[in-house]
Amino acid sequence: MDDQKIRHLQATAQQLRRNVLEMIGIGKAGHWGGSSSLAETMAVLYFHAMRVDAREPCNPARDRLVLSKGHAVLIQYAALCELGYFPREELKRVKSLDGLLQGHPDLTIPGIEAVTGSLGQGLSIGVGMALALRLEKRPAHVFVIMGDGEQSEGQLWEAAMAASNFEVDNLTAFIDLNRIQATGHTDEVFRIPDLVQKWNSFGWEVLNARGHDVTSIAENIDKARSIKGKPALIILETIKGKGVSFAENTATYHNGVFDDARFAQAMHEIALATDMREEVA
């Protein structure tokens, strides 16, 4: 990737964060934490790595993204909106009674590939898609994003075994390792040590990316796609709530509410970070 592309993806990630904040707004609960930790990943996937086209959301040759940690769907809406999957006005009506955008991923929404929100199921769906695409001899790739708290769901390990059993290599999974789940730090809520060894021993190739570094994410996706005969996992080192200082590294904004002052400060910090990036550029 050249410098210009890198700057573009960085700016896109910030724009996605801004979209998420606008969706959450003031006085309403919204999953800021787990959405913002994925901003760079979504920017790289949708604006660089994935072969998708908003004009043909059902093209059978498209790459697929299954957001297994479906509660973070706001960051996916943010990207889909920028790509033109639906009008920007929908962002303002997210979670409203007659709005298009539901609280969790729903197939009624263009660009969304699976119904998720009940944690632990996305990888199984992704493996199913990958197997079907392989049968059809389509070159499309499937991406699945999981949470680190989500790793305690047993089904996900069944899917991990299925993927390696079937030697699925047209699928790349991610773990958003932001170290916080709904009620606190993963180390305090429910410890899952040796995640890398676990996935390795389940037959996966495990890669590590700096989750807020678009170059690192893009390089690891390239690497993952080149691995043959087994599935690949990219562990994303991230910060929950990234981009808004008071909301970083805390469970408070897992599904928190911004009051007027906090909202203004959050918007200000995102704007400031964007400006600084532009100055450096």
Binding site: G70, G99, Q102, G103, D106, L119, G149, S152
Partner: protein
């Protein structure tokens, strides 16, 4: 009217009962701050088991604890408590009649923002269809408190379904409570409304509307969805002109179906069911909006009552 949080009442009840009864253990799946089981964690950390986001494992672990003599309460959102762990409940809890207490929190449409994956339109219906299972659906915080007490002396598994939002209080702290009984909340002579959970609140408001229209409505709180006793139902249908049922759940396999099934052929009265019409939920900014959308308001109940009474008039 005074409103109170049912989930707070649930958490506080666990703490109060856990003081004397040291066999009580609590299991949770990363939603303790929503279900309010976190209060028990603060009070008795050694008897609190945070199981991670792993509801199936939590259900079977609770079964093991019960089989080893403990009194486990496990909680999470109703969709996950009842749905995700269905086979574990069936096999490890219900068949062996293990003394596991399952709390399905944020039930029905009460988790309004999260949408269909989080709104449980069928949790109680599924639970009622499992043999050996007792199913409770409190109408307010005070009744929730009493139920937790009653669950302790009850033999076999119990599922309790708890609303996310504060609801008006209709029951009194100092009256008796018994699993399997129905409680009349308002006396009336024309129509009887059998309501459960949040629909008790809506039915009480409906009774006001009906009164203004010259119709006297009786409201019966069916907080035990199972067991559902025929003689209890007959007590309240006697002398009425019509029957209405009201539940925040799918109409198939819920309270309305259960009552109709018990009295069909014996009670010859017009019957109207207020329930969710076999659909999943959807996201909304507020709970009231959803109740309106799904036909679960006082107006819907009052209209159902008027419709049922009118049917009778036509038939005669």
């Amino acid at each position: 009217m005074e409103t109170k949080s049912l989930r707070l009442a649930y958490g506080e009840a666990l703490v109060e009962e856990g003081r004397a009864n040291t066999d009580i253990v609590v299991l949770e799946a990363d939603l303790g701050k929503s279900t309010m089981s976190c209060l028990f964690k603060d009070a008795y950390p050694e008897r609190y088991f945070e199981m991670g986001i792993a509801e199936q494992n939590m259900a079977s672990t609770a079964a093991g604890m019960a089989l080893a003599g403990k009194v486990p309460f496990y909680s999470t959102f109703a969709v996950f408590a009842a749905g995700r762990a269905y086979d574990q409940i069936r096999c490890a809890i219900a068949i062996p009649e293990a003394n596991v207490r399952i709390c399905g929190s944020s039930c029905g449409l009460s988790d309004f923002g999260d949408g269909k994956t989080h709104q449980s339109v069928e949790d109680a219906n599924i639970m009622c269809s499992i043999p050996n299972m007792t199913v409770l659906n409190p109408c307010d915080a005070v009744e929730t408190r009493k139920m937790v007490r009653a669950m302790l002396s009850h033999k076999g598994p119990v599922y309790i379904r708890i609303n996310r939002n504060e609801l008006p209080v209709y029951t009194a702290a100092d009256t008796d409570y018994e699993i399997g009984r129905m409680y009349r909340i308002r006396k009336g002579s024309d129509v009887v409304i059998f309501a459960t959970g949040s629909m008790v609140w809506k039915s009480m408001l409906a009774a006001d509307l009906l009164e203004a229209a010259g119709i006297s409505a009786e409201v019966v709180n069916v907080s035990s969805l199972k067991p559902l006793r025929k003689e209890e139902i007959l007590k309240y249908t006697l002398g009425k002109k019509a029957i209405v049922t009201a539940e925040e759940a799918n109409r198939i396999g819920g309270l309305g179906c259960a009552i109709a099934g018990l009295i069909i052929g014996e009670v010859h009265l017009p019957f109207a069911q207020v329930a969710i019409d076999d659909q999943f939920g959807t996201s909304a900014y507020g709970y009231d909006e959803l109740l309106e959308r799904y036909g679960l308001t006082e107006r819907h109940i009052a209209e159902a009552a008027c419709g049922a009474i009118a049917k009778r008039a036509i038939r005669h």
